[in-house]
């Protein structure tokens, strides 16, 4: 008879492994599992993959040869990820509250900061994986299309780094919005509406020059468009401060002090 057939075995037993605090690597693995083991999570990630593949097939068949370069393909391949990965980030946090699994999660791991750190790590891992899938899909589509134009395979190494930064920070912005609002629907709406509102307010108030330093579109899209200049890096930094780091801090503060119901 093995241990597993005796689910109610009680003390005495060794305390060392029993009382070991779950490590961040294990908690990250658990959070990764949570992103794919629900119906919503599974289909969201599957949809990102399917849309990307479809877009690549269409590009390989229909696009003009000068757009069928690796860079051209990659620009299109990253679109579904750019739009939908932040929602994966949102759900990683908000599903615990909407589905009330926070009751279980925080009963098993009372250190809420550790859980939040694990969610950030899991969001980063998923995003890096997504970025490489985009790169792979773009490469396959480019090879299949074989446009035969000059510089078909030109892709500066810096662009790969920028792509990784773009996808990771995009998903973390989702995590941050989810943590601030702790509800899926408002967080998704805010994710798309607040940057637009920001632009409108900036235009009306005539402060576009200042607002550009924290515009999530103009601040971050250069990451995908080419090797960035110093000013562009600075702008991306200030934008991430406003849209990612600040909401992450507010979200962590909210999660730490929330009553779990």
């Amino acid at each position: 008879m093995t241990d597993a057939t005796l689910p109610l075995r009680l003390l005495p037993r060794a305390g060392a492994d029993v009382d070991a605090r779950p490590g961040l690597a294990r908690l990250t693995a658990v959070e990764l599992r949570k992103t794919v083991d629900t119906r919503a999570g599974f289909w969201l990630l599957t949809a990102i993959g399917l849309i990307t593949v479809t877009a690549m097939v269409l590009m390989a068949i229909l696009a003009e040869p000068e757009d069928q370069t690796l860079r051209g393909m990659l620009e299109v391949a990253t679109l579904p990820t750019a739009v939908l990965m932040p929602i994966v980030g949102i759900l990683l946090v908000t599903s615990e509250w909407g589905q009330r699994t926070a009751l279980i999660t925080f009963a098993l791991v009372p250190g809420r900061t550790r859980v939040f750190a694990a969610k950030i790590a899991a969001a980063s891992v998923v995003s890096i994986a997504a970025a490489w899938v985009c790169l792979g899909a773009a490469a396959i589509a480019t090879a299949a299309a074989a446009p035969g134009v000059a510089g078909t395979w030109d892709l500066p190494a810096a662009m790969i780094g920028q792509l990784l930064i773009y996808t990771v920070t995009g998903t973390l912005i989702g995590v941050a919005f989810g943590a601030v609002l702790l509800a899926s629907a408002p967080a998704i709406v805010a994710l798309f509406a607040v940057p637009i509102a920001w632009g409108v307010i900036a235009a009306v108030a005539g402060i576009e020059d200042i607002a550009r330093w924290a515009d999530s579109d103009t601040g971050l899209s250069p990451l995908l468009e080419g090797t960035m200049s110093g000013v562009e890096w600075a702008r991306a930094g200030t934008t991430l401060l406003v849209w990612m780091l600040l909401p992450l801090a507010v979200g962590l503060w909210r999660i730490r002090r929330a009553e779990i119901r």
């Binding site: 109610l8 070991a20 658990v30 009330r100 926070a102 925080f106 009963a107």
Partner: protein
């Protein structure tokens, strides 16, 4: 003078309290929902935390498990605050709300996630599902398709994943059918008999009456009674029946004793049988029954203690007054 039942069992220094609450108080929205709640649970016992809906049971259990911060007082599990247990799931099995599960996740997966979080061999998951009566097809279903009873079984399995010494269960019988309640009773009794400690809440006395060793009755956020089941039962007073009800009430009234009439024509008096016998003798009343109250049981106690803020005896003697009036 009537003897008051002892309300609190003195702590046995030989036994460590596995769960200890001391003056726990919680205010929400300007209202005190839990006020100065103190009690302890010892190994090998099942403690029933009883009270009507809204009495503060859930809030108390959430403070106990570190999910809600008390405004005053403190709580400890295994000698320290729950949140300071390094890997609490391996020591304390918690089920706070069976409905709080991700509807889009399969039952088996929900258990597997808990096992992975606390570093338990995933091979434990399948036998546990069998133990709680969720067969393979049920385990494969999404939790959204589960009945409340199935969710309770899944929740109990989840509480047992870490092979804990202590179980803290909020309304575990909710949604279970009578057969399910009997199953849970046997499971928890067995757990306690092996040395485990169980604290479970319920708003229905009948669900837990046969299971619990200790009772803590809460209403309006405050503990109204606590003790062993037997002690609380003994607090019911003396039951007396006579051939002539009116004469009995008059005789008891002359002796300065309050009596309350039960629906089946008997009277419960908060006094020793001897006192009542003497009163009946003085009044020339023929008694047909005189003995310790048993029939009233916990149900009566529970009903009286949780019936709002009015102390039970104040409302009860009214029929006596009416009868006494009728005699004069």
């Amino acid at each position: 003078m009537a003897r008051r039942p002892r309300r609190r069992r003195p702590a046995n220094p030989m036994l460590d309290a596995m769960i200890e609450l001391e003056g726990l108080t919680k205010r929400l929205g300007g209202r005190t929902v839990v006020e100065d709640v103190s009690f302890r649970c010892e190994p090998g016992t099942v403690t029933g935390f009883l009270g009507p809906n809204g009495a503060g049971k859930t809030t108390t259990l959430r403070m106990l498990t570190g999910l809600s911060r008390p405004d005053a007082g403190h709580a400890a599990v295994l000698g320290r605050p729950y949140a300071e247990l390094p890997n609490p799931g391996r020591r304390v099995g918690v089920l706070l709300d069976a409905a709080a599960q991700h509807g889009g996740r399969r039952g088996r997966e929900a258990l597997a996630i808990s096992a992975q979080t606390m570093g338990v061999d995933p091979a434990r998951v399948d036998p546990l599902l069998t133990l709680v009566g969720l067969d393979r097809s049920a385990a494969r279903k999404r939790v959204r398709q589960y009945s409340l009873g199935m969710r309770q079984r899944l929740g109990i399995a989840q509480a047992l994943v870490g092979d804990p010494q202590v179980l803290i269960l909020d309304e575990p019988a909710n949604g279970l059918d009578p057969e399910g309640i009997r199953w849970m009773r046997e499971l928890l009794r067995d757990f306690a008999d092996r040395g485990g400690t169980v604290l479970l809440s319920s708003h229905l006395l009948a669900e837990v009456e046969l299971l619990v060793d200790h009772l803590v009755i809460i209403a309006g956020g405050r503990v109204r009674a606590a003790g062993t089941r037997e002690e609380l039962l003994a607090g019911g007073g003396t039951v007396v029946r006579a051939t002539d009800e009116v004469a009995l009430v008059a005789a008891l009234g002359d002796a300065g004793l309050d009596a309350r009439r039960t629906p089946d024509g008997e009277f419960v008096v908060d006094a020793e049988p001897e006192e009542i016998g003497r009163a009946a003798l003085d009044g020339g009343v023929v008694l047909t029954r005189l003995g310790e109250s048993q029939g009233a049981g916990l149900e009566q106690l529970f009903f009286e203690l949780t019936r709002g803020d009015a102390p039970a005896p104040a409302a009860a003697p009214r029929p006596t007054d009416d009868l006494a009036e009728a005699i004069r």
